[in-house]
Amino acid sequence: MTLLIGCLALLVLSVVLLGVLRDLLYAAASLAAASVLLSIVLFQFGANIAAAFELSVCAGLITVLFVSTVSLTMDSDQKTEAKLPAVFLLPMLALFAGLAYFLVHWLAGALPTPATQVQALTFQEAFWGQRTTDILGQISLVLVGVFGLLAILRAKSTGRNHE
């Protein structure tokens, strides 16, 4: 429980940092940290497949794509984003906290008992026995990541576009 609360607190902190950091590279690192923490939270809840997916795709692949793209987009002295006016920060946080409180309360009352009891499967049983389609998807996602990175980091052609 302590680990869960700690992870949730750090998750909120990293998401807030993601919104206010002026350096896009640090923001991307903050996003990766948020994804890792979310993965831990998902593992704690027993959602192993979602956790593995979050860790491999969101924390890994998407972050690498972000960092590569940000590095390519701007010169090193330009890697700052416009500063979010500080005056909006507290009202926005209060608004989102209020919305989250309302949603959690509403969902707690609205969620019915599952019609079909979800079986408590081990990670191996679920991953290899029930979600083989997603394994195919995962393999292709890794391939997309590899080709995507190679494509983004390749040498740019100097050829003319037209004759």
Partner: protein, 477 residues
Amino acid sequence: MEAYVGSILLLPLVGALVMPWVSKLGRRAADALAGAVGLAVLASCLALVPHAGTPATLQVLGTNFAVDGLSLLFLVVISVVGFFCTVYSIDYIGHYSGRAKFYALLMLLVFGLNGVVLVRDLFSLYVFLEVASISSYVLVAYNLEFDGIESALKYLLLSAVATGMILIAISLIFASTGTLSFAELKAVLSGGPNPLFLFAAALFFAGFGLKAAVVPFHAWLPDAHPSAPAPISAMLSGVVIKVAGVYALTRIFFGIYAAPSQVLKVFLVFGVASMAAGAILAYFQTDMKRMLAYSSISQIGYIMIGLGLGNWLGIVGALFHVVNHALFKSLLFLNSGAVQFRTGTRDIREMGGLENRMPITSVTSTFGTLSIAGIPPFNGFWSKLFIVLGALAAKNYVIAVLTVSFSIFTLGYFLLLQRRVFFGKLNERWRDIKEAPAAMSFSVICLAAGCLLVGVFFNQVLRGLIEPAARVLLGGN
């Protein structure tokens, strides 16, 4: 059938896997592999068309996939546009580096889209949607120019918001029902209205509406589509927004939620907004590809209207428009790519009189213009006619009048585009330019012929492809 479905799903994945090694044999080997994979997938899809009326569940590599009329319609659209975009790329992609990587990503995009239409489970749909989405982000940025990378980032960020909403909706559904299978969910959700399911429905609509670029979720599209290389613009406009948006919306709202009247009204309202806003914004554009991008938003509006009408004619019209829009919009994007390839600009104000220098591009572009405006006997006429007849059958005369009016408006701004680019006095800057290379011309000729032939033989297309798909939506299979 298993062999065909296996080919459709796995050939693009295997093609992407072996592409780095094959490309070492030379540029032509990479072109041949990409073309062969595209052709094999297209042939497999066409071989399935005679079985369109018989839904089948199939095992590929120990995994269940299912094909019904709706899946097959979208598979045909993906494979036709995918094949001609691949052929077009043989010449077009020459001025970019990394030919093999481009083909690999294009094949993975096709693989992801095919996966989306073949799975029968919400989470698997999400996984394959991500495969297609991540491939398309990279392909949008493929030119490594500032505008391409900026557009790709915008596309990625907005799509991430959409994905977040879709995932929350999937989580809520799974938490309350304990299943993600389409068939089981349909049985559970038919139990009656539930605020939680309605909340999930709103999230699904916003998430997939953003993927389909329905107004007001369209902000990413006018940047992403023009900045991408032309064959990718054609794939995005012709296929991706339909599979990631329209197909997912129909599969969920017709297949799982059984299309309640409130949902159909939402489809109608957002459809009209998209049709009108897209057309009006397209009129004011001076960038050729940006005009086409806004026009795609407008045409998605027609599809949403047809679905929102909820009757046989409306749904047949919407599904027919999915096929037709894929043909004529990919044709128009490929033509705009040919013009940019030769002139180096997308600015309509700098063009003029290109018809004598690029006659094939000019004639095929006229075919595309007449098709998108709904002029008989081109394909666009029939789908728009069915949508208007659907509106009249539903006694929704305002929608019928608006649909016809914006079709005329579409003809107006496309004729203006045609006149400014191809007709009139030749701009002296383009005195020495030539027609687009052979592979690019071949693709646009085939797509233009497709626009005409689908229009002339509309009855066969209707019976063989559209009606089985419409029966799935109305029967809710």
